[in-house]
Symmetry: C2
Subunit: 200 residues, 2 copies
DNA sequence: AGAGATATGGCACTAAGTGACAGGCGGTGC
DNA sequence: GCACCGCCTGTCACTTAGTGCCATATCTCT
């Protein structure tokens, strides 16, 4: 079910990238995904929303890995390690490129921006759990949610910057650069001390 | 023009509040605003987007006041003073209540959430300018944008919490409480030292 | 007065999105 | 084996969000 939505999202992202959001119809998405229009509208509330699962997938896998973040490891070390693991996963890399393309077209496509922000908002939820786990506090606490929100804001900014530089600017990034910039931004943004090893 | 959009937005927000987003049609908004449907769709790309100007108005007036933030004053002092000024402005208060209502219905109305996030994203731009001015750095710098993003994330969270408590929970807030909580959250979230008086 | 830029309305039209009903298909009980 | 169930999907008619195109009003500049 969630996997099916993601599959549709991959096709939608591809079409959005090739023809723009306005240039791709709901019918085209349905056809590319091999589904009836009706089913597509059952999966998504709107055309832009078709982009969400793909956008979310990248952030979510990221967050999912953070859930497994050992308390004894620093953010930098863990991030670099997980990103090394990621590049072995072909699907992940493909999704990452597709997502970056979408993010890179945000300035031109206001409709995509709302999908992007919605995806970030969902990923924020996941972050709340990570912060809660790492600080041993409740996900309801304001400070916990605040820390998750600022961390997510940092990740979003870095993502936007890197995606634009890579796609529009043709720049290249090494894994160390990528994980380093993400970690640095998150470290600065976090309002709770979660980035360094925590003792139990 | 911008004023006209805001006027439509006020009517739309009212209808959204009364009948829900799905329960209000574009025609209804147009009629309430005394405009043709055609003009409404010229003003807004989508139905949800009709909510943006109102949502934005509150944050933007807030940010506009921050632009005038004297370098010698702390965040807390200035916020309290400006909010005292705000309550004298009837229109502002009405808009604030209407905006709070919309924010309070976010959990039930996914469509509104995207409008809300878009408004926050726009307000973030304004924040970038404030942070740049107060630190004497360029609005292009990553650190400046990061600080604006985290501050905006804090403001968003507080807004969501307070709106929900006030509208859904029937709670009451004094000006000191309001400005205090906003200031506290922003102070914690900021990644650059803009909250205290800056010497020139 | 007349040319041009800008804002609006009217109306036909396209495309996004929904409701209602009818299968298809994998369990589960017997 | 079959009847039953819940769940997902497709079809098709339908509503409503949203656009293209042209006519008209208003305003400004000369």
């Amino acid at each position: 079910m969630e996997e099916a939505r993601l599959a549709v999202s991959r096709h939608a992202a591809d079409l959005f990238w090739k023809h723009g959001v306005d240039g791709t119809s709901g019918d085209a998405i349905a056809e590319a995904a091999g589904l009836s229009k009706r089913t597509v509208w059952r999966y998504f509330r709107s055309k832009e929303a078709c982009a969400e699962p793909l956008l979310l997938a990248t952030e979510l896998r990221f967050a999912a890995y953070l859930e497994a973040w050992p308390r004894s490891q620093s953010l930098e070390a863990y991030l670099l390690a997980t990103m090394r693991a990621f590049v072995g996963d072909e699907q992940y890399v493909r999704d990452g490129v597709a997502a970056a393309r979408l993010v890179a077209m945000l300035p031109k496509e206001p409709a995509l921006r709302s999908a992007w922000l919605m995806a970030c908002a969902q990923a924020e939820e996941q972050f709340v759990r990570v912060v809660a786990a790492r600080t041993g506090r409740s996900p309801e606490e304001f400070d916990v949610r605040l820390c998750a929100a600022t961390a997510m804001a940092a990740l979003r900014l870095v993502d936007e910057e890197i995606s634009s530089a890579a796609i529009n600017g043709g720049r290249h990034f090494t894994l160390d650069e990528l994980s380093g910039r993400i970690a640095a931004a998150i470290r600065v943004a976090c309002t709770l001390p979660i980035c360094d090893p925590v003792e139990d």
